[in-house]
Amino acid sequence: MLHTLSIGELAELLTSKRLSSVELTQHFLARIERFNPSLNAVITQDAARSLAAAAAADARIGRGETGPLLGIPLIHKDIFCTDGMRTSCGSRMLDNFVAPYDATVVERLANAGMIMLGKANMDEFAMGSSNETSWYGPVRNPWDTSRVPGGSSGGSAAATAARFAPIATGTDTGGSIRQPAALTGITGIKPTYGRVSRYGMIAFASSLDQAGVFARSAADAAPVLQAMAGFDPKDSTSVDAPVPDYVAALRNPLAGLKIGLLAEFFEGLDPRNAALLEAALDVFRALGAETRAVSLPSLPLSVPTYYVVAPAECSSNLSRFDGVRFGYRCQDPKDLMDLYQRSRGEGFGAEVKRRIMTGTYVLSAGYFDAYYVKAQRVRQLITDEFRAAFGEVDLLLGATTPTPAFALGEKVDDPVTMYLNDVYTIGANLAGLPALSMPCGFIDGLPMGLQLIGPHFSEARVLNAAHQYQLRTDWHERRPRGYDA
């Protein structure tokens, strides 16, 4: 049962040479081969390349090298460019696109010795909350395959939950790591905006996008985030500040930690959801934390604000997909306009087009002030309210999602209802704050997540609090049935 071990335990087996990275890689590749057809979590693989990387890691171990990630497999969300391998972003537009370079995240984790097993399915261009917008078909939730895993990093979440790999990368623009982590019963962290390089990560909404990690626990996520984080001269928005030792900080006691409970998050919350959070708060109080109520009056405006800012940026970011230099190109264009219109019309799916149109609209002359400028003002207001709150408390706690995983097809035709699924996660993106979701119980047999949000660059504190909670609970140890054999 190698797939149930933590990466700390796996690293111990690898460095003591009781297990090779090639064996570990083969184990996980076999699991993907067996279980992926029912989940559709992984869409691109190159087993020979994975095994070659594993052999290289074994050679490094053979030379006496050590490292917490050396020889450990992972799966990359297919939004990260991987040199020589298809990088589709879940879109027909990039179905034929083989990236000629590695994203900084991919490069750093490869340098740390991690073995890429494949690329994870995702909502098209990371636009979606259910993983139903992918050109490669929906991903299914391993807890109940009639349900969605959440999105947009649904493939990464489902793969981690089904133990296709101990680790998967994801990206989070409005909750795309935390929401699927919650709906699949795993731990996911989105760091501070600027903490991890966006170079090589195909842009959805540049001012909101941030790469992060899916893992079974905060303790597993910490060393991976450590390896990903840090300044990158290729990304002007990455922050040139030292990366603290996330792993060492895990052990810090929580005595005196002030946890704020967001009134806006608890208002109208499903009582079963509220009960799970209450139980979690009891654990934190037992660890010495104090709790108090906090209010961010502008937070309820975060969904409409987000659905102006994100489409505006995406409408511009996706202009480069024009059929001229790479990606999908329509058959026999009769002129330039036809080439543009049909390549984009046929290459993009409905949700992407909806957001491009919304974004184009809000940036248009005559509407710019009423939508884009106003949204930026509200975004600043929300950021200021978060900053004020963090003058009083160390962390904010609330639900990650209003409900557990919903059924496939349930919301796909109702975009506004779908968008409201992100009501609790979007605030952290608008303010650029680090936030984590971890399992805190079940509703109707489906996992639920609680969310911790910290001030800028407090990843160590967020992971520390999550780890201390996970030392006293076993929600994160629960696994979906049927994936162990």
Partner: protein, 488 residues
């Protein structure tokens, strides 16, 4: 149609000049900017707008923009913003151009221009902002297809936007030349107009004299020579006046200048104009420039053209025109000053005449730049010294200069080789005069009878006899004495 003669109409012109900054790499990528490479060999993944790539601002481009701003007395914005200008075109790989819109790096400056009548005029510069150039579409040599060359995509541009302060095509050209001089002085642009490194769009309108509000303006795109700027504006002014005179209205539009037919023609109307949907580029943080950076750039500024011209006028007693010509580029100013260093300030006017006269015509004739001149400043100074000390006449000096230009060598060796040394020896000159007088008794008699015009005849005869080498002053003096019969 000349724009200076019309009594009824006032012409209003503003220019948007695009100066390509002379950085080694592009404004947001590490690719080279050299001109003339094979298509798409200088386009990196960033220039090609591959998925996932990000722009990183070239600090050198920022330094150059600040240099320009300081040289026109402008405000350097402490915080300026890069924005995206969104439109689809195959030579624009990202589908947007990164430019500056609401908060440009350089704000509100001025330059002085000297008009033909010697009057100075101040032209306001509204702003100068950094942006990236687009690539090029290639339509030749491809059957049923267009090619795209992205070598130029991402080349840094400084767009310099003037106030509508010019009142004639000539003023517009004077202003454009001034900016051209300035950017080359600052070494921020090579000024090569044929390669498109320096080009402009002209906004032109006319209004009845005395009217306070501006007329409807027309933008003429992509003018890449001073002559085209002048011709295009003149044509456009005439066209607009004709439209109004015949009862029509000028339409706000963008027009292209056809340099073969010398006319402008409509490209697109305001109604058809793109909505560029500008918004701040989220991939680039606001550009923050602190005062220490500005101070360092200020300290690195060279002497600017106006300051140099003023110094030439004051120190060397040159006219404003001469001082302006000799400071038109750093190179010509340096050449002139190197000559002065040898011959001394009192000979400045003579040196100025040689630099602006013989040297300039030789440079123009052979199409070489002054720093590659075949007569060095020291060489020209040596020649001037021989004129000043009377070894040769100014007239012979031109022959010496041509010989130096053609075959190299210094003035003294050319003079010696050609035996051009001027003869000042009184005895030799008088001997020649005596011989000429003896050979021309009739002319002597006529002269002495009052036909003084014959003096020139004797000068010519003596000069001819002495192969042109007689010192003219000495010749005059001795000849006068002999003809009047002083010494028999």
């Amino acid at each position: 149609m000349s724009d200076s003669v019309n009594q009824d109409w006032e012409v209003v012109i503003g220019l948007e000049i695009h100066a390509q900054l002379a950085t080694r790499s592009k404004i947001f990528s590490g690719a080279a900017t050299a001109y003339g490479a094979a298509p798409n060999t200088q386009a990196s993944l960033v220039d090609l707008a591959y998925p996932g790539v990000l722009p990183v601002l070239n600090a050198e481009a920022v330094r150059m923009a600040v240099k320009f701003g300081l040289s026109i007395g402008a405000t350097i914005a402490e915080r300026s913003i890069f924005a995206r200008k969104n439109y689809f075109y195959p030579d624009l790989p990202k589908g947007y151009q990164i430019s500056q819109y609401e908060d440009p790096i350089v704000q509100r400056g001025t330059v002085a221009i000297l008009l033909d009548d010697g009057v100075a005029k101040t032209v306001g510069i509204t702003r100068a902002h950094l942006e990236e150039d687009a690539g090029k579409s290639l339509h030749e040599g491809l059957a049923n297809a267009s090619g795209i060359d992205l070598n130029r995509a991402g080349t840094p541009l400084l767009e310099i936007v003037s106030e509508p302060d010019m009142r004639s095509a000539k003023e517009a050209v004077a202003y454009m030349k001034k900016i051209h001089t300035l950017v080359r002085y600052l070494e921020i642009c090579d000024g090569n107009m044929q390669e498109g490194s320096f080009r402009c769009d002209a906004n032109v309108s006319v209004r009845p004299r005395g009217q306070a509000t501006f007329g409807t303006r027309v933008e003429i795109k992509n003018l890449n020579s001073f002559r085209f700027v002048e011709k295009a504006i003149q044509y456009e002014v005439g066209r607009q006046i004709d439209v109004i005179d015949s009862g029509g209205r000028v339409v706000q539009e963008t027009r292209l200048y056809d340099s073969d037919k010398h006319e402008t023609r409509s490209m697109r109307s305001k109604e058809a104009a793109n909505d560029y949907r500008y918004f701040p580029d989220p991939d680039l943080l606001p550009l923050v420039i602190d005062s220490s950076f500005i101070d360092a750039v200020r300290a690195s500024l060279p002497e600017l053209p106006d300051a140099k011209a003023a110094r030439f006028a004051t120190d060397f007693g040159l006219s404003a025109y001469d001082a302006g010509v000799l400071s038109a580029s750093r190179e010509i100013g340096a050449y002139f000053e190197a000559v002065i260093a040898e011959v001394g300030a009192p000979q400045a006017k003579l040196a100025a005449n040689w630099v602006m006269g013989e040297l300039s015509s030789a440079l123009n004739r052979d199409g070489v730049e002054i720093d590659a001149a075949r007569v060095s400043p020291a060489g020209l100074a040596g020649l001037i010294a021989r004129i000043v000390d009377g070894t040769i006449s100014g007239k012979l000096g031109k022959d010496v200069f041509e010989a130096m230009w053609a075959d190299g060598g210094d003035a003294d060796s050319v003079i010696a080789a050609k035996g051009l040394t001027q003869i000042t020896d009184v005895a030799a000159i008088e001997a020649a005069i005596d011989a000429v007088i003896a050979a021309n008794p009739k002319q002597l008699a006529d002269y002495r009878a009052g036909k003084e015009k014959l003096f020139g005849f004797f000068v010519g005869q003596v000069m001819k006899a002495m192969a042109g080498k007689a010192n003219p002053a000495q010749l005059n003096e001795s000849l006068k004495a002999k003809l009047s019969g002083g010494h028999g």
